[in-house]
Amino acid sequence: MNNKEYIDNVKSGKTSAVKTVKSILSEIKKINKDYNYFNNVTENLALELAEKVDKNPKGKLTGLPISIKDDICVKGVETTCSSNILRGYKPIFNATVVKRLIDEGAVIIGKTNQDAFGFGSFNTNTDYEIPKNPRDKSRVTGGSSGGAAGFTALTEFPHVAIGESTGGSIAAPCSFCGVQGLTPTYGAVSRYGLIDYSNSLDKIGVIGKTVNDLDLVFDVIRGHDSKDSTSLNKSFNKDGNVKKIGLIKETLDIDPKIRDVVLKKLDELNIKYEKISLPLVSKYSLAAYYIIAMSEASTNLNKYCGMRYGQEENLNLPYNEYFSDVRTKYFNKESKRRIILGTFTRMAGYRDAFYLKAMKVRTLIIEEYKKAFSKYDLLVSPAMPIIAPKFSEVNKLSPAENYMMDIMTVAPNLAGLPHLSLDAGTCNKMPVGIMFTGNHLDETKLINVGKKYGI
């Protein structure tokens, strides 16, 4: 039974939402023992919502269990971004996406694991237990929405996950776990209630087993919200025809086995493409992305200082010492690294050379993309340059080598372009993802190409 059929059955009274939710909650407990996908299972909230649905089965998502990445606020539910500094924080409001989901009959089942504040590509930078790949427990799920993608792959019940991407945090875990993910245009989904990583890059999106699932949930969460000042008040492009696809030449310079899985898939589906070169996008996105992301992150994380929410300490310490004490104790290594780098790239004397330079290079990268979209409806590339690595391999990487793994995914994120990551097949028994990128607000083209794909 697919999610659409399930929703119809709940609506007609053939299936009970409470019964399904009870089953998925016990499945989560079982899976979580080995895989660590959930930071928090919201059993009471889930049952309360499911009971309401059974009494009054209404809405586009009637009774559908939905997991929420832990960087999105759910009222009264501990929300930590997987960081120790936010342990115990219970938001006093729902994020707009959560409100919209509940209004359409969805059932919130829990908060999924991630890299703390989204800082990572493998979900190994979490302050909770590290999630494991659904196909091989010695490998990573990818990050930062690792819990969301891993659980989507393993669950046998109706479910869709809400993820979030700053520089590839939806496409990367989807590629490594063999599921599908939509990262929308910047501003297409309200960020109200999303705990900021990098304001000009963060986008809430959807992870599911099928493209229909992505379409179903995206339709509910998208659209203007007056509570988010960067929320777009524009309609999506109606033309969903995909006639010409450009394959980004530079992204093929990877392990030939992974490249061949992607090329074979395009041939199998009879998707015609032309090779296209995007030199600026390929060469400079990574540096521009990380400078912007870290600069913005370092200002966003200033608010975690032991006051108002999150961890607190003894107030008898001297003024500055108090803040340093809390931050030093509760931020993890990667968070500290990014705060320090981001503080540096914004500092007087360095700001022009790094932060402002990156903002200008972003303009040139967007222009190069726009030029490509004047000729092509969509662009295509592998989603990740590797298959899910083993934990032992990740531990050996330096921070710089770690950041290099995002080479494919940072560019569309930097330019705010919507992209769709789809499972393309396997290499060494591990999933390989293919990524389609569209022009701003061209989500219809992405969904259409995804549906043609047949997942």
Binding site: K90, I92, Y186, G187, S200, L201, S226, S229, T230, L232, L280, Y284, L286, A287, A288, Y290, I291, S298, C305, M307, R308, Y309, E312, L315, L317, P318, Y319, Y322, F323, S324, R327, T328, F331, K336, I339, I340, L341, F344, T345, M347, Y350, F354, L356, K357, M359, K360, V361, R362, T363, L364, I366, S398, P399, A400, Y403, M404, A415, G416, L417, H440
Partner: protein
């Protein structure tokens, strides 16, 4: 451009992060490694190029400056509070 020990200490102090000797040494190598990636942007000519602070054109949104009371809710996440105010460390 390189980060030396003095810059690192000043940045960490600004960011209110304390580092021990071992962390300082480790970070100096890692940060300079990352800065060499960042410095690649120097190859790009950005004369007369505008900055993109957002990836897509965003217009200012204003709302009425109306006070809504939520004091009790807002204080629900802290232990350090007094008389309906957040309590912080002594400034003097």
């Amino acid at each position: 451009m390189k980060i030396d020990k003095k810059i690192l200490q000043s940045v960490a102090n600004n960011a209110r992060i304390k580092l021990n000797k071992k962390e300082e040494e480790e970070l100096l190598v890692q940060l300079n490694d990352v800065l060499s990636i960042f410095s690649k942007l120097n190859e790009v000519n950005t004369d007369n190029v505008e900055s993109s602070f957002q990836p897509i054109e965003v217009k200012n949104v204003f709302r009425e400056d109306k006070v809504e009371s939520c004091k009790e809710d807002v204080l629900s996440n802290v232990k350090n509070k007094e008389n309906n105010y957040f309590k912080g460390p002594k400034a003097l």
